[in-house]
Amino acid sequence: MSRKVVMTEEDIKRTLARIAHEIVEQNKSIADLILVGVHTRGAPLARRLADNIESFAQTKIPVGTLDISLYRDDLPSLELKPVVKLTDIPAVDGKSIVLVDDVLYTGRSTRAAMDALIDLGRPKAIQLAVLIDRGHRELPIRADYVGKNIPSSRHEEIKVKLKETDGADEVAIIPAPVKEGQ
């Protein structure tokens, strides 16, 4: 199993800084903005983006966390239920939400996240920021802000590590395990 590192700690730092600037650029009024990180790794990413924005725009953007386990469309087929973490978001009515996640893949997580947000109220707008877009969408979903596009095959795994959750910052591609007889 040979993994290939596609983003180092430095790459991630620069990319997040760039996304933070893009968010401020695209949103006329950042007074209505809330960054909502999708558990697990979306949460620290949202926090970092908020810190970035605060450092150059001198504005504190509220940050929330969202657990989408209860909205997943694959629950009936999962043998072990995902651990449900806390959803903690300030009031969403009339706000512009930027959903933050680590990897955008089939788009189903984003669909679940949107359903969750809409159950909480009526946001003015929802945008999506992701660190990695690896393609293979199964639903008509697209990201407004993308850190890096990494075309990948379905057999590969994109592994995102963040200091807050995994002890280090890194994005790596892990090829599919070699099958017997090959």
Binding site: S69, Y71, L80, V83, L86, T87, D115, D119
Partner: protein, 324 residues
């Protein structure tokens, strides 16, 4: 700087092995903690204006109650509905059971009709175990005879956990008719698993035999209520069934009140931040004085509120794809 950094938490796969929830005697500490964590998330949903998530859409939950109960049944029904499941309530006294249909037959019918989870309350200990042996659906025990009431114990534990995050080493006292109480039994299992010391306080005639032996969890027995309450963090009073006096186990209700009612004065022997529990319905003026029941240390209402969230958590954890 490496050495001083604490190891960050990595997400681990949850270790949930239960296809049924029959009793707390086979729950590990980790599993109870998983229930706590999931309950917290469910409570957040209950704080929203729209209390609903689509999680159990398409699942059918049947409540099959052979004993009357308002709050427990309602609690389960609401829990299921908030998770978007379809709920059917069977009151065993009006359905074909009254005509002599056996428990097994009724369950077979429910299975054929597509129930995914069956919540059973039954006057005979062990009835949910028969159900679990003969049916594919998940069985949740909402109380069987004297034997177990696991969801009650879990909501009691969760209520305690909300107030005192570190449960290890706390002292709990359960006062009342232990012999006939499924709430007491399940709580004894749950509390001891979480490292909480349990003292049982009741007239000797209401104490079941064999406590303190190997196969049962370790508990202290103290028939004197003042001594039992010394330094307690959690005080649970059980409902006294008035039939106990009729069947000769107590000389009179009056004497029970004199010796075992939880009054303000007696409660003062416990820690100042001790919490007062009761599974309900409360016989005010019998096992507990009205002042204490409505007093600042009482968490009786919280128990009820937490009941819905705990049951939501359990229903969520139970509905997996494949039977383990």
């Amino acid at each position: 700087m490496r050495a001083t950094q604490t190891k960050p938490k990595v997400e681990t796969t949850p270790t949930w092995r239960h296809h049924h929830i029959l009793d707390l005697d086979d729950f590990t500490r980790e599993e109870i903690e998983l229930v706590f964590q999931t309950t917290r998330a469910m409570k957040e949903i209950l704080s929203r204006p729209i209390k609903r998530v689509p999680t159990l859409r398409g699942k059918t939950i049947v409540t099959l109650f052979y004993e009357p109960s308002t709050r427990t049944r309602l609690s389960f029904e609401l829990a299921a509905k908030y998770l978007s499941a379809d709920v059917v309530n069977l009151n065993a006294s009006v359905s074909s059971v009254a005509k002599g249909e056996s428990l097994i037959d009724t369950l077979g019918t429910l299975q054929a009709l597509g129930a995914d989870i069956i919540v059973i309350r039954h006057p005979h200990s062990g009835a949910p175990y028969i159900a679990a042996r003969h049916i594919e659906a998940s069985i949740v025990n909402a109380g069987d005879g004297w034997h177990a009431h696991p969801t009650q114990a879990l909501l009691d534990l969760y209520t305690l956990y909300e107030h005192k995050a570190n449960l290890n080493g706390l002292k709990a006292v359960i006062i009342g008719d232990i012999m006939h109480s499924r709430v007491a039994r399940s709580n004894i299992w749950g509390l001891t698993t979480m490292g909480i010391g349990v003292t049982l306080c009741c007239p000797p005639t209401l104490l079941p035999i064999g406590l303190g032996e190997e196969q049962l969890p370790p508990v202290k027995i103290e028939p004197n209520i003042e001594l039992a309450l010394d330094g307690a963090d959690m005080v649970m009073t059980l409902r006294l069934q008035l039939e106990r006096q009729k069947s000769g186990l107590l000389p009179s209700i009056r004497e029970y009140i004199n010796l075992y009612q939880l009054t303000e004065a007696r409660l003062a022997r416990a820690k100042p931040d001790a919490l007062v529990f009761h599974p309900g319905p409360v016989n005010e003026g019998v096992e507990i004085s009205p002042t204490v029941a409505h007093g600042p240390q009482s968490v009786i209402k919280e128990q009820v509120a937490n009941g819905v969230a705990v049951r939501m958590a359990l229903l969520y954890l139970l509905t997996g794809g494949h039977k383990q």
